[in-house]
């Protein structure tokens, strides 16, 4: 992870021709972010203090204070997003990235957001989950006219409820979200004199990401916006494994993970090695008495979940969506199953016609994880990634929780592979097979007629007699 430099290379973005320079002169500057690496925000320079979240492969939007009001400036515009090294897509985003920067405020803050539209069509911003005046809710046509291309609208309200929120367009919504136009909003709780909140614990590590899905065909670089169900890129913050930053924690730290779902299906998010509790939902903090331990929590469409646990098991622990095809790269859903098909005598024959042909799938798909075969341009393998012990055979919504004994409090860097204590890893049995405990087979299904039982012959074509 790279430390971000908030104002260094960012602030001098030139306004697009459609947005007059003079018109933007009085607005807050337009911070831009140029990389898909995780940018850890600094402590807030102005306003009420809070502990910023770390947006996986994202960043938080700087603001300016104007007479006690926090002023942000979002610019909706076409962006180029790297999903992982070797795979880049043309998306729509905010301030140079998809998803847009995370907006972080504190409960009770007066917030003014300037939204400049540099898209080719109109847009709007809906502040998903917030309590706000009806005219600020952002449903174009219902609450406001849409923001035309080239125009800037201003939203202003008070962040009344602490929690995890999202923002996204509510104009040509399906297209714009299929193109990646979305972002996170965190309202930190107002703390008491002792720096506490009755329902919201202070987390040592506070991670946040959005679940998003795209349909990007192999060899292309623009999502198919009209896809309804058959998505092939399952992403966290418009990143896929192995492009997703790890979640790093020192042993014993309290870790919070905030997840919002802006895809069209649910995602059971699963963390290895630990139990967690859902401490907050879309509706706010969950009372402690209503929490229960889990290792997987399902996040339905349009929902947000805030989960917390103490990272007390050192190691590299998988964190992923439990729908196994969501931890895959782009795959051909119509490709037939080849398992168990004898290819003997056919390989040479096919290679005469297609010299680069190799057998795949005869034994299963694991070949994919190890083979490095040329693929269509701008396409990631269906399964990829290599760990210290071999191929991970993963893709999509997959990352690693890295718990280590000794980490500085502010150190968010990838600590590398976990070195397991000797004797704590599964090993290959070297002894004699006879020394193994017996592995009894499951009892055979009792279809054979028992001695003495009447033999029943069923009538009808085909009968019950199995010819083969």
């Amino acid at each position: 992870m790279k430390r971000r430099h908030f104002f260094s290379g960012a602030a001098t973005a030139v306004a697009a021709a459609s947005v007059g320079r003079a018109a933007l002169a009085a607005l807050p500057e337009i911070p831009q972010h140029g990389s898909a690496d995780t940018a850890v925000p600094p402590a807030p320079p102005t306003g009420r203090p809070f502990r910023p979240v770390v947006t996986l492969n994202g960043w938080s939007l700087p603001w300016r204070m104007n007479a006690g009001v926090k002023e942000f400036h979002l610019v909706a515009e076409p962006v180029v997003r790297e999903f992982a090294p070797g795979f880049v897509a043309h998306l729509w985003g905010y301030n140079g990235q998809s998803p847009g920067p995370t907006i972080e405020v504190v409960e009770g803050d007066r917030v003014r957001i300037f939204v400049t539209n540099r898209l080719p069509e109109h847009t709007s911003v809906h502040w998903h989950g917030q309590r706000l005046p009806n005219g600020m809710d952002g449903v174009s046509g219902l609450n406001q006219p849409a923001i035309p291309a080239g125009k800037t609208f201003v939203y202003e309200f008070t962040a009344r409820r602490p929690g995890t929120f999202m923002y996204h367009p509510h104009a040509d919504e399906m297209t714009q979200m299929a193109m990646g136009l979305m972002g996170l909003w965190i309202t930190h709780p107002r703390l008491d004199a002792r720096g506490r909140h009755p329902l919201i614990a202070t987390a040592d590590r506070d991670y946040a990401f959005l679940l998003n899905a795209f349909a990007v065909e192999a060899g292309t670089r623009t999502p198919r916006v009209n896809e309804m169900t058959d998505f092939n890129i399952w992403a966290w913050n418009s990143r896929v494994f192995p492009g997703i930053s790890p979640l790093v924690a020192r042993r014993g730290e309290r870790v919070r993970v905030r997840v919002g779902n802006l895809t069209m299906t649910n995602h059971p998010i699963h963390i290895h090695g630990h139990e967690f509790e859902v401490t907050g939902t879309d509706g706010g903090a969950v009372p402690p008495g209503a929490r229960w331990p889990e290792v997987t929590t399902d996040i339905a469409v349009g929902q947000m979940r805030q989960i917390e646990f103490v990272a007390d098991e050192p190691g590299d622990w998988a964190v992923h969506c439990h729908k196994s095809h969501h931890t895959m790269g782009a795959m051909g859903h119509d490709v037939p199953t080849m398992i168990g098909v004898d290819h003997r005598g056919l390989v040479a024959k096919i290679q005469k016609i297609v010299p680069d042909y190799m057998v795949m799938g005869e034994r299963g798909m694991a070949d994919m994880g190890a083979m490095e075969m040329p693929l269509p341009e701008n396409t990631l393998p269906m399964m990829t990634g290599t760990g210290p012990y071999g191929p991970l055979e993963m893709g999509g919504m997959f990352s690693v929780l890295k718990v280590r004994e000794h980490l500085a409090a502010g150190d968010w860097r990838d600590p590398g592979d976990y070195v397991q204590p000797p004797g704590t890893q599964a090993w290959e049995w070297q002894g004699a097979a006879a020394d193994l405990p017996p592995a009894p087979a499951a009892p055979a299904a009792s279809t054979a007629p028992q001695a003495g039982a009447a033999t029943v012959r069923k009538p009808g074509p085909g009968g019950t007699g199995h010819a083969h």
Binding site: A218, G219, A330, P336, G340, I353, T379, M382
Partner: protein, 485 residues
Amino acid sequence: MTAPRTAAWGALAAALLLAGCASVSPDGLRSQVQTLADGRSAGVAAPALPSADPAARARADAAIVQWLAGPLAADDAVRIALLRNPGLQARLAALGVADAQRVQALTLPNPTLTLGRFRSGHEREIERTLGLGLIDLVTLPWRTRWQGQQMEQATLDAAQDVVRLAFDTRRAWLRAVAAEQVAATQERMHEAADAGAELARRMARVGNWSRLQQAREQALWADSAAQLARARLDAATEREQLSRLMGLWGPAAHYTLPDRLPNLPVEPEASEGIEARALRERLDVRAARLELDRVADTEGFAGVAPWAGGIGLAYTRNTTTEQDTGHADVKRGWEVELAVPLFDWGGAARSQARGRTLQSAAQLQDVALRARSEARTAWLGYRTAYDLARQQRDAVVPLRRFISEETTLRYNGMLASVWQMLAEARASSQAVANALQAQRDFWLAEADLQRALAGTSGGASSAVASTALPGAAAGRAANPESQGH
């Protein structure tokens, strides 16, 4: 006494001399045919024609054996056809026959000797008359010229048949080579379908596919098997056609063909001056021009012929012997026989001749018009075939290959199935087969163009319309007698 005798002998000598000029060509005019066909024999320089000389025949046989030993080149196929095609041999033999007939026609009729013995009361008369019809003698120079022209025309006709045979053989060679290549491509396509069908069978066997899915691949296999059978038949038929034109059969017909057609030229020939070249070089235009000359030449003579036809000259020596005295009286004298132009002044003959001249002029115009038009058509066909072949080679085949490669990449990524990959490989092979056929069509069009510019009219064959029956154009050359001349 001496003077008329000398004159008579002189006339006879002159007649004999003239008659002697018209001797039979020793090689049956083959060298003339060969000279005319040179530069027009489908790109082959000075190909030999079958010779009557046994030594030359042996040399030709040796050369043919050598040409047939390696992959048979197009030029060698043309050479073999010109040496071995039986139809052409018959054609050339017929030309020799015509030549002999010409010489026969120019031979003067033998003079007539009339002997008479008459007896009257006191006299015995012996009459000896040596008569000679003068018409043949008088017209001999003209007739020699006309017969010569006619033979020249017959030679031109024969040369056109040589040219046609040369081009037809070249076309047959192109078709045979392309058909073999196309069959090889079909072979590859069938192997792809075969692999797909076998894999489908194994898929169904282990339960990964239904019998329906398997049946689809099986159907593809059956289609490709039928296509392959047709392609093989095509290759055999085209090769048979080539062998027939070359006059080969039996073991000699077991030659191999090259495995590729010549490459397309970098630049196609331009269309400048093609009509002028056709008018200048085509043999049929030349023949029509010659015919007009000949007919016009005879026109002046036509008016004279009716009354000149009866000219006769006779020398008579009569001996009259008186029986009583035994005194013999000898009478010598000349007799000239002339037709009196009382009824036929030759007007009808002259009109007939004039009509013939007009007819020939119109025919020349017709031939020239056709030559120009064929030159243009052939060039257009040539140019279009070139563009189509280039497009197939430079655009379609690379595109298909690219699609096939990209599909393989998708197969690598488990984004496409092995059957999709095989289907694209089949489509790619089909594009190669189409490109081969387009390349063949270009060279066929090129042969047509060369023939149309320098050779002669080729009948109805067209290269771009590749669906034409392969043997249709060649049938003529194998039976050249069918052309009227």
